[in-house]
Structures are given as C-alpha cells and as structure tokens.
C-alpha cells in the first residue's frame, strides 16, 4: 500500500490510506486517553524525590495524543490521489483472516492437546490455505517439520513444549 509523506501535506495519499490514518489516529487517542484515565488509580509514591508510577505513562500517552492530532491534521490537509497499486481484494483479506484464526485456534488447542497434535494440524491447515493441496505431502511435511522443531527444542535444547491438559 503506497503512502506518501504526511509532513507538510505537500504530497497526497489515496482515500483508503487517508481513512486508515484517521481511524488509527482516533483509536490511538482513545487508547492514550484511557491510559491517562487509569493512571488516576495509581498510588502516590512514598519517596519524596520520585515522580511516581503515573508520570511516564502520562507523558507518553499525552505525546501519543498530540502526534495523533498532528496526523489527523496532516491527513485532512493532504490532497487525495488515485491509488495505482493493485488492491488486495476480498479473497486476500479472507486468506489473512483465516491464517490469524488458525493461529488463534492452534494456541487454544495447544493448551488441551499439546504441541505436537496442534502444530501438525495447524501446519497442514496453513499449507492448504496457501494453495498446497497435496493429500500426501501436506501431512508428511507437517509431521516432519513438527518433529524437527520438537527434537530441536525439547530434546536438543531441553526447552519443554506444552503436553496438553488432556494428556497430562
């Protein structure tokens, strides 16, 4: 996704980028404001020479709000140009969403069935998602890679991998 510099507002940006800039800036302002609000619950420091636990978060969040407002101002000032990069399309975004979903499912599954089973299914699913549809090679590659990672981490380096609550 192309995006021109936002300083000065001399160069333009596609409409989609401008909308994204505005949405992200508003979200960041909301996050920063929430952070500042929650510092009100922080206790006062007992040390007379200390600034307390709230000072730095408040400074960072305030700067984030100021910079987000600058981004909004620059975005509104800059001209809209025609986007010449090919759009990702619905299929592309669905692919990404399914990949993220598969990772989340793998994370949850790992807690119950452990590393090995969750990773084999996860890898096979991702390969299928990426267009590798061989009914023979997908499981073979998934099992081989899972085993290689297991041997490297668990056996060679002694780093324990999750067993899964169903098998503990």
């Amino acid at each position: 996704m192309s995006n021109a510099p936002v300083q000065g507002g001399g160069a333009g940006a596609p409409l989609s980028t401008k909308i994204a800039n505005l949405v992200i800036a508003v979200i960041l302002i909301a996050v920063a404001a929430a952070a500042i609000a929650s510092t009100g619950d922080f206790p006062k420091t007992l040390l007379a020479a200390d600034v307390g636990p709230a000072r730095f978060p408040v400074i960072h969040a305030s700067m984030l709000i100021v910079l987000s407002l600058i981004l909004i101002a620059n975005t509104l000032r800059m001209p809209t140009i025609v986007d010449d990069t090919p759009p990702v399309g619905v299929i592309g975004y669905v692919g990404v969403a399914l990949g993220i979903l598969a990772t989340a499912v793998c994370l949850v599954a790992m807690a119950y069935v452990g590393y090995a089973l969750a990773t084999v299914v996860y890898m096979a699913a991702l390969m299928w998602l990426m267009g590798q549809r061989s009914p023979l090679w997908n499981p073979v590659i998934a099992v081989a890679v899972t085993a290689l990672i297991y041997v490297t981490f668990q056996s060679a380096l002694g780093v324990p991998l999750p067993v899964g609550s169903l098998f503990e």
Partner: protein
C-alpha cells in the same frame, strides 16, 4: 608488549588442548542455531549450557560458553535477513535492511556482509579486551543512573531516523512502544501498571511483541496474495561480497565496532542498543542516507559489527571489575565463579595464564564463527528455495514455538498473535515496526534510570546538565532527533514548491 607475550603463551596452551578447541567450535555452532531460532537468545543458550560445563576444565567450559555467546549474537542475523524473523533483539535492527536485500535477490551478499562484519566487530572487541582492558575499565565506573538515562534517551532519539516514509507515523509508533513499555511493575515502587490483573504482564513481553511485529506480520502478509503463495521465497545469489563493495563498508564497520565496544562496556547496555546506535550513526555518515531501510548493505554491516563489538566490551567490565555488562555476561559471571575464578582486578594477576588462554580461545571462537558461518550460509540459504506455501507455515510454527519457549507461557503466544495482527496493519498503513521495538528496549531503561537518578540527586533535576557525559549524550540526542525533522521539513517545503510547479501530486476528482 607484556600482553602480546602472554597471548602467545595462551595460544600455545590452547593448542595443546584440542578438546577445548573442539568444544569452543561446538559452542559457536550451538550459539548460531540458538541465535537463529526465534525466542531463544544468547542468554538462554548460555544458561542452558551452563550445567554441562560443571565437569569440564575451566578453559573448555568457559570457551564453550563464550562460543555460544558469540554465535548467539551473530546467529540472529541469519533468520532476520532470510525470513525477517529476528532471532535476537539486536537482529531486529539487522532485519530492517537485511530483509529488503533478500527481497531484491541479494540475500547471499547480505548474509556474507553480516558474517564478515560480525567477525570484524567481534575480533576488534576481543583485541580491545586483551590490550586495553585495564585502561577502559574505569570508563564503566563513570556510568551511573543519570548517564544510563541519557544513553537510553540517545537510543530513543534514533526513532526519527528509522521512521521510514513518515516521521509522524514513526514517532507515533515510538510513543506507542513507550506506552506499552510502561506495562508491568513500576521500576521504583513495584506497583503493577496496566496489567489487568495478569501476572504474565508484570514484565513487558518484549520478545513476543518483537516476533509478532516482524515475523508473524510478514507471514500474515504473504497469505494475502494467491499469486505469490506457491512461488519461491527469493534467490540467494552470491555470498561473499565483492572486495570493492566490502571495502566501501570498512569505515562503517570500524565505526560501528568502536560504538559496540563502548556500549558493551556500559553496564546495562547490550548488543540490541549497540545495533540500533551503530545503524543510526552509519546512516548519519552515509552519502546516501535515503537508501537506509530500503536494502542498504551498510545498514546490515553496521548492526552486526555493533552488536558483535558489544561482546568484548561486555566481557571487559565483567572480567576486570566483576560488573556484568548485560544478561549474558551475568550468567557467564556465574560460570566463572563456579569454576573457582573470582572476576575482578586480581583475576589478571592471580590467573593471568588462564585469562590469556581464554583470550586466545575467544579469538579462535570468532575465527570458527567466520568459517562455520560462511560455510553454512549456502545450506541455510536453501530455506529460500522452499515454496512460500511451505515456508510461511514453517515461519508461523516457529513463531508460536519460539514465543512459548521464552517463559513456557501460552499467554505469550497470545501477545505474539496480537502483535502480529497489529504489525500486519501497521505494515499496510506505513507505520514502522522498528520504533516500537526500540522503544520497548529503551523505554524501561530510560524510566528506571531517570527515577533512580532523581532520587539520588534528592529530587533535583541538576543531573541533566551538571554531569558531563549525561549533558553530552542528551545534547547529541536532541540533535539526532531534530536534524532529520528539520531536513525532512526543508525537503517537504522544497517538494511542495517544486511539486506545485511540476504538478506531481494529482488531486483526485
């Protein structure tokens, strides 16, 4: 020269101990593997191997650990360049230009440059350790909380230089990183901030965020285009850079090595800080700073020379003063003590033979790293010949397992996934990820040391200008932050006036 004579004796002693030589090579090889795997750092590698060294003689055990240390710092660059998976925090800086070079089909030269620069940076640091240790050891004692705060601010000032296309977006990413860096226990009072009751958030989950922002985000991106899914990742190309090309980088490597050594000497500052600072200085002195971030060999050389230059610096204060420069040398300090050696000024008097044998072994480790590194690059580069439909799932599986390995925590995988999703959208809308990582490294260091310095000065802010090193570092930090902004502002003004005349920016209908 007394040191040279002692070093020659050390070489002779080492040559008579082939087991120590073999174990140091094993250490380097293990270090490279550990460094290359996401989630496993040199610190973890040294800690894992520590129990195995108990039964060894001091030279073999300590050289094996040193090999893991050196190999671990270098190993992170391999996956950072090939796959944009920074195996170590320092390699996150290398990934900025290294992965861009891979996308251009220059992965081989990037890897070769990284290996040579790591070797030169590391060798320079060991030579300084051998010949200048007592002279430079006092420098570390000049660093108190106020100087460490100023160093962290100097590190943070680099954000303006690594912001990519938009300084405002880079600064937003930086301050977002700083805000995230405040999650966890308050460094002075221990009060939990923004943790939501989760004990897993008591420490900033820095490495899961880094893996998510860099590796997972890139993997998610490759899921979006059906046309590239079944294609090859990239070509490896030539490995050893042409002499004319590398000769032009020698200035960058020398400067970065010196910066790495100096930063390594400072307690609390490690190879991650050295890599970012070296990158910024390389960009500052470059005739083509605009190429940095788009695939510039100088960027790779600077990060690697700086990160590996740090190794000797960190060892210097550990051996001469008993002060570990970073987490790895803290574990190594334990290894020395377990071998019956007490680091400090007396170590060089009471165990001079052993110390100089170790120094000779460290040189051997770096030579071994060069040979093993260059020898294995063609093999490791074969990763790029895998179809993306296999490589992307492997990357994501490594991200998941590597993140879990840090704290044996599934919660961390959730953090990595969230950072991966955020990184995907950041990449899409040109918010750079590097400032977030830099802020996560420097933010806690800046806050903790500022508040410590303030307490030490009784609440007075005088320490900001009354201590020379602090004042100099803060001045340089302000200049580093403002100069790119002024340059960009002037360039935008020129472009705006020129653009108006040529009509390059076309308003939409």
């Amino acid at each position: 020269m007394h040191e040279l004579g002692m070093l020659m004796n050390g070489v002779a002693t080492l040559a008579a101990n082939p087991m120590a030589l073999l174990l140091s090579l094993v250490g380097v090889a293990l270090g490279i593997v550990i460094g290359a795997l996401p989630g496993l750092t040199a610190t973890m590698g040294v800690a894992i191997l520590l129990p195995f060294t108990f039964g060894m003689d001091p030279v073999s055990g300590l050289l094996m650990i040193s090999g893991v240390f050196f190999g671990g710092v270098y190993g992170g660059s391999v996956t950072a360049i090939l796959l944009k998976i920074p195996g170590t925090p320092a390699a996150a800086a290398t990934a900025m230009d290294g992965f861009e070079l891979t996308k251009k089909g220059m992965a081989g030269i990037a890897l070769g440059t990284a290996t040579l620069s790591s070797f030169l940076g590391g060798m320079a640091s060991i030579l300084v350790l051998i010949f200048l240790a007592p002279v430079l050891a006092g420098f570390a004692l000049e660093f108190s909380a106020s100087e460490s705060f100023a160093l962290a601010v100097f590190g943070l000032s680099i954000i303006a230089s690594i912001s990519g296309k938009s300084v405002v977006k880079g600064l937003i990413a930086g301050f977002l990183g700083l805000l995230i860096a405040t999650v966890g226990l308050d460094p002075m009072g221990g009060f939990p901030r923004f943790t939501g009751g989760y004990t897993e958030l008591f420490n900033v989950p820095f490495i899961p965020v880094m893996i998510g922002l860099f590796a997972a985000a890139e993997a998610f991106k490759s899921l979006e285009d059906p046309k590239v899914r079944l294609g090859m990742a990239a070509a490896l190309g030539r490995i050893i850079p042409p002499w004319a090309t590398y000769k032009a980088l020698l200035g960058v490597v020398s400067r970065s090595s010196v910066l790495g050594i100096v930063i390594g000497i400072i307690p609390g500052a490690g190879s991650d800080i050295a890599a970012y600072v070296a990158y910024n200085e390389a960009r500052r002195f470059s005739k083509t700073p605009e190429n940095y971030g788009k695939g510039e060999l100088g960027g790779v050389a600077a990060c690697e020379a700086g990160a590996n230059g740090c190794t000797g610096g960190a060892l210097l204060t550990m051996l001469t003063l008993g002060i570990p420069g970073d987490a790895v040398t803290a574990v190594m300090l334990g290894a020395l003590t377990l071998q019956g050696l007490q680091p400090g000024p007396l170590l060089f008097k009471e165990h001079a033979d052993l110390v100089f044998t170790l120094f000779a072994g460290m040189i051997f480790c770096y030579v071994g790293m060069l040979v093993l590194g260059l020898g294995s690059l063609r093999f490791m580069g074969r990763i790029l010949q895998m179809p993306k439909s296999v490589l992307t799932p492997v990357i994501l599986a490594l991200c998941v397992v590597g993140t879990y390995a840090i704290n044996n925590s599934l919660f961390d995988i959730g953090i990595m996934l969230a950072a991966g999703v955020a990184g995907y959208f950041m990449q899409k809308w040109d918010f750079p990820a590097s400032p977030v990582v830099l802020a996560l490294i420097m933010g806690p260091m800046a806050e903790a040391n500022f508040r410590r310095a303030l307490s030490l000065s009784g609440g007075s802010y005088d320490f900001l200008y009354s201590r020379p090193i602090t004042a100099i570092l803060l001045t340089v930090a302000i200049l580093t932050m403002l100069l790119p902004l002024v340059k960009r502002w002037r360039a935008d003004r020129a472009a705006a006036s020129g653009g108006g005349a040529t009509g390059r920016a076309e308003p939409a209908k």
